[in-house]
Structures are given as C-alpha cells and as structure tokens.
Amino acid sequence: MGWFKRLKDGIITSTKDKKEAPDGLWYKCQRCKAASTLKEVRENFHKCTRCNYHIRIGSHDYFDLLFDGEYTEIATDIQSEDFLEFTDLKPYKDRLEAARKKTDLDDALSVAIGTVEEKPLVVAAMDFSFIGGSMGSVVGEKIARAIDYALTERTPLMIISKSGGARMMESAFSLMQMAKTSAKLSQLAKAGVPYFSFMTDPTTGGVTASFAMLGDINFAEPEALIGFAGPRVIKETIKKDLPEGFQTSEFLLDHGFLDFIVDRKDLKTRVGELLRLF
C-alpha cells in the first residue's frame, strides 16, 4: 500500500538526516548567529537554543512532533504535472523533478492521520522546501481529500501552513485551489467538525487568503511572517518603509486574526488541549 511505504520513508528520511548530521556538527542560527550543536537544536524542537528562533521544518517533522507514535499518510497517489507546459527561466517540469529529488516528497503538502494525546486527528502539513510551499492542483486536491476523510470519520482537521502562496506555474489552476479548498472547508464547518489552522513561517498569498485564515481556531508559531501581499510588494507599492514587526504572528494576534501564538515545544500539549475541548 502506498501509505505504508510513505510512512516508512518518512521515518527513514528523518533517521537518515540524523545519521548524516553527526552530533558534533554545528548549527549557526539564522537570526542571532549563535552556534549550537545539531543535537541540541533537535532536542530543543528545532529551535535556536539561544534566541528561540523557530527553524523552518518539514511536514514529517511536524508529524513526528505531534502524533503519539505511528501515523498513516493518505492521499499519496497523486503528483503534479506540467499541464500548461509552463516555462519561465526554467521549465516547470524541471523544477518539479528537481524539487522531488531534493526533498524526497511528492509535493508541497502531506496528509497524515494519527492520534494526539490519544485523540484522532487529520494533519495536512506543508513543505516550504518544495517550490516554496506553493499551492497548485496537488496541494488543493490533498487538502480536499483530507477534508473528505475528516468529514467521513468526523475527525478534527489541522492544517499546518508554510507557503509563499499560489504556484504561479499552474496559473489559474492554482488560483482556483483557493476556491476549492474554501468550498470544501464550508462542508466541514457545516458538519460541525473542528478545523485548526496553524500558521508557520512563512504563510502568505493565496494560502493565507483561503484555508489558512478559515480555522475555527487560528494560531501560529512565534515571529512567523503571515500576510496576504508579500512585504516587498507592499513596500514597492506604497514606497515607504514597513513598520517594525509588520506581518508577524504577534502583529496578527494584536490585530485580532489569531487566537494565540504557541511555542513549538508546547504545540502537542496545546493541540491535545484543544481536542479535548471540542
């Protein structure tokens, strides 16, 4: 079965990484430049040990952090295709192949089912390493299937967003995924199945303007970039500098678009609490 292999791959991938990165190697923090050993960083929930910077991690890292133990990947039988034969500086076809090779993933989102503190949960998590976590037809379809599963099993859904927005190389197909995922979420809302939207660095564009902002609960990791337009676009449009802390999680919490911010080390506990409260 497809998921079985993926499950195994997921485990092997993270184990392999651990082997390839001996504990003696150093991680230099992107923000405060402090050095820590990889072992320290890993034990600290992939955060800088000095400044608490949340390092960008992948879908399977989140599955490992959240689920009680084993989890099952679903919707693994599809992959993106360069249907429009889109070529900019590079053909989209080549970009896809390179991304698959580099990440060992099918696309920018994976869906898994498992339990969190013994409560069942469907988790759809994005991978920024796959073409900037961009949303194309496959991301949209996987979310739709995650919602169908959540509907049938009446299991709460959590989507972990980490995306630059829509995938330009799929043009209007990617745009329509905003409508598709939102329309599917309307079914979940109507059925009274809880949906938690967890935003991580970065969550922008069409992803924010569709499923990411539609959680029954919206929450985020600290200091994540969350917005509709990218900071560069806004700066070019208004020809002014952007205020300090603009479009951060803290900014969104202050403006009323998030319920709370959660440190990665407390993520599992918090999700467990939510699951018991619904």
């Binding site: 249907f83 829509a166 209007a172 197909f173 329309a183 569709s210 678009f257």
Partner: protein, 328 residues
C-alpha cells in the same frame, strides 16, 4: 478614440477616412464610394486583428481606458438601481460597488469592482484595487440577497486586491478567505462575469459562483503578467511572454474547465460598442439567473461545491515496487 499598439493599422485607416470626409464636405467631389470602401476596409481589418489576439493583447484590451466598468453596465441594464454603501465595520470601499437592482423585472443584488473613468476618479476608485472593507461590503450585500431570496450578480474587474499596510492590518487575506467560504454556501444563485481584469485573489474574492463567464477580451490568472515577469523572469520586460505562459485567455480558461463559458463582445471590443455589450450582458445574466433560480438551494450548493472540487490537474504517481518491510 484611443488605439492600442496592435490597432495601429486601424488608426491609419480612420485618419484616411477623416481626410476624405473633409474633402467631401469642402468640395463638389462625390466621395461616398471611397468612404464606403474605407469603411469596409476598417471592418475587415478590425475583424482580422480581433480574430487573432495574443494573451498580452487581451490583457491590453481588458485595460482599455474606454472599456465599460461595473457601474456603466448596471446603469444600462437595470430599470432601477439603488447603490448601497459600507461594510458596517470600518468604511465604504470605493473600489467595490454594489446595491439592489431590477434586471428585466427580477430583483437582484449586483456587486462589482469599479475602476475610475478619468485620472481623478481612478484615484478615487483606487484603480479597482479593493481593501478588506470592499470584500466585507460585498459579503454584507450577498447576505442581504440571501435573506431576501435575490440572485447575486458579481462583475469582476480588478488588477488585484490592494497591497497596503492598512489592508494587512485589517486582514485582506481573512476578508477574501471569508468571502470564499461564505459564497460556497449561499442559498441563492451566484452568477459571476469577468468583465475586465481577473487578477488573482482580488478577483476570486467575489468570484465563486454557480456560473462564471468571461467576456471575450478579458483575462483570469493567479498573478498579473507584469508581476509574474518580475518574479519568475526577475525583470519587468517579459510581461508578454508571461501572459502567454500563464494561458490566461477566456479560451484557455474554458478549455481547462475553470469557467463555464465565454460571452462574445461586439467586433472591436466592448469599448467600441458599450451599449451593445451591456445588452448582451443583460441577456446573458437574465438567461443564467433563470437557469439556476428554480433549482433546490441544497442541490445548487452541492453542485457549486462539486464544480470547484473538480478543478485541478494532476497525474497519478508512478507506482514504485513496494519495499519489503524490514523493521517495525
């Protein structure tokens, strides 16, 4: 008359026509034959140009400064129209207009992006780029329509939702997302038509409906050709190439199953014969409303969601030989 670069041959012919007419007015020479000849030439030339438009040319046409905008259509289509203002939360956005109207005896709620007709009005309308309050006004009007059983008409024409500091503070993303999830469940018919530019989230924010048509000389895309060029080509110079690559024309959109149909424009485009275009649009809207109005609301919602659920293109993942399970 304003001529776009690819309409230059037409401009020359019009100039000739003007000169000949002047000669005719001044002297005793009968120019009627020459005038007729030139007019035929213009008609043929126009047909030829318009039959083979590139993606970028459609983008240019969709932005033609003389093209009719939402309020023009509403005024020409509706017997009565009362514009309604404000989102009841923050302010009234001038880039999205809406109100109650009567369309051939049928009460409807009409909503649309609105661009300005001159320099001053273009600024007033923020170039058709809405802020969150625009999307929230639109949603308020849609909910009003739902409560009173009125079909909803959405006319789309925007270069994008406004990218500004205040727009982000007030939740541009949330406003668009909220419209999408709410529009999916509206219990009245939702009829959308792209009348100009269909740029990205700003367009789809009032664009999820039972029927989505595009006028012939419009475009729909996840990003404008200019921004696409700037991001993917790292230069502003590849907008024409980007327009081709994005496959943003109505023909492409219909072929991909992302829209329900195309509404032909009069020869020369909507701006050449705006009144005729308004008639065509009105006929289309009345016909489409009639098509969807008698459906059971639940069935209509299910059909709507099903339509969007099918949008996308992907391939089956090649089957790899299953690896034997070694440990746990």
């Amino acid at each position: 008359m304003i001529f776009l670069d690819f309409e230059k041959p037409l401009e020359n012919l019009y100039e000739q026509l003007e000169k000949i007419r002047q000669v005719g007015e001044q002297g005793d020479i009968d120019v009627s034959e020459m005038v007729q000849e030139l007019e035929d030439k213009i008609t043929n030339q126009r047909k030829e140009i318009y039959a083979n438009l590139t993606g970028w040319q459609k983008v240019q046409l969709s932005r033609h400064p003389e093209r009719p905008y939402t309020l023009y259509y509403i005024r020409h289509m509706c017997d009565t129209f009362v514009e309604l203002h404000g989102d009841r939360r923050f302010k009234d956005d001038k880039a999205i207009v809406g109100g109650l109207g009567s369309l051939g005896g049928q009460n409807v709620v009409l909503i649309g992006h609105q661009k300005g007709v001159n320099t001053k009005m273009r600024q007033y309308r923020n170039f058709g780029m809405a802020n969150p309050e625009g999307y929230r006004k639109a949603l308020r009007l849609m909910k009003l329509a739902e409560r009173f059983g009125h079909p909803i008409v959405c006319l789309i024409d925007t270069p994008g939702a406004y990218p500004g500091i205040e727009a982000e503070e007030r939740g541009q993303a949330e406003a668009i997302a909220r419209n999408l999830i709410e529009m999916a469940q509206l219990r009245v018919p939702v009829i959308c038509v792209v009348i100009g530019e269909g740029a990205s989230g700003g367009a789809i924010g009032i664009g999820l409906g039972d029927s989505v048509y595009m006028l012939e000389n419009t475009w729909y895309s996840v990003i404008s050709p200019e921004s696409c060029s700037s991001i993917l080509w790292r230069s502003w110079d590849y907008k024409a190439q980007a327009a081709e690559a994005l496959k943003l024309t109505p023909d492409h959109m219909l072929e991909f199953g992302l829209i329900d149909g195309i509404l032909q424009e009069p020869v020369g485009g909507a701006h050449a014969q705006p009144e005729e275009m308004a008639k065509l649009l009105q006929r289309h809207l009345q016909k489409t409303i009639a098509e969807f109005q008698d459906m059971d609301p639940d069935a209509r919602i299910a059909r709507r969601i099903d339509k969007y659920s099918k949008m996308g293109h992907y391939a089956a993942k090649p089957v790899t030989v299953a690896q034997p399970e070694e440990e746990k």
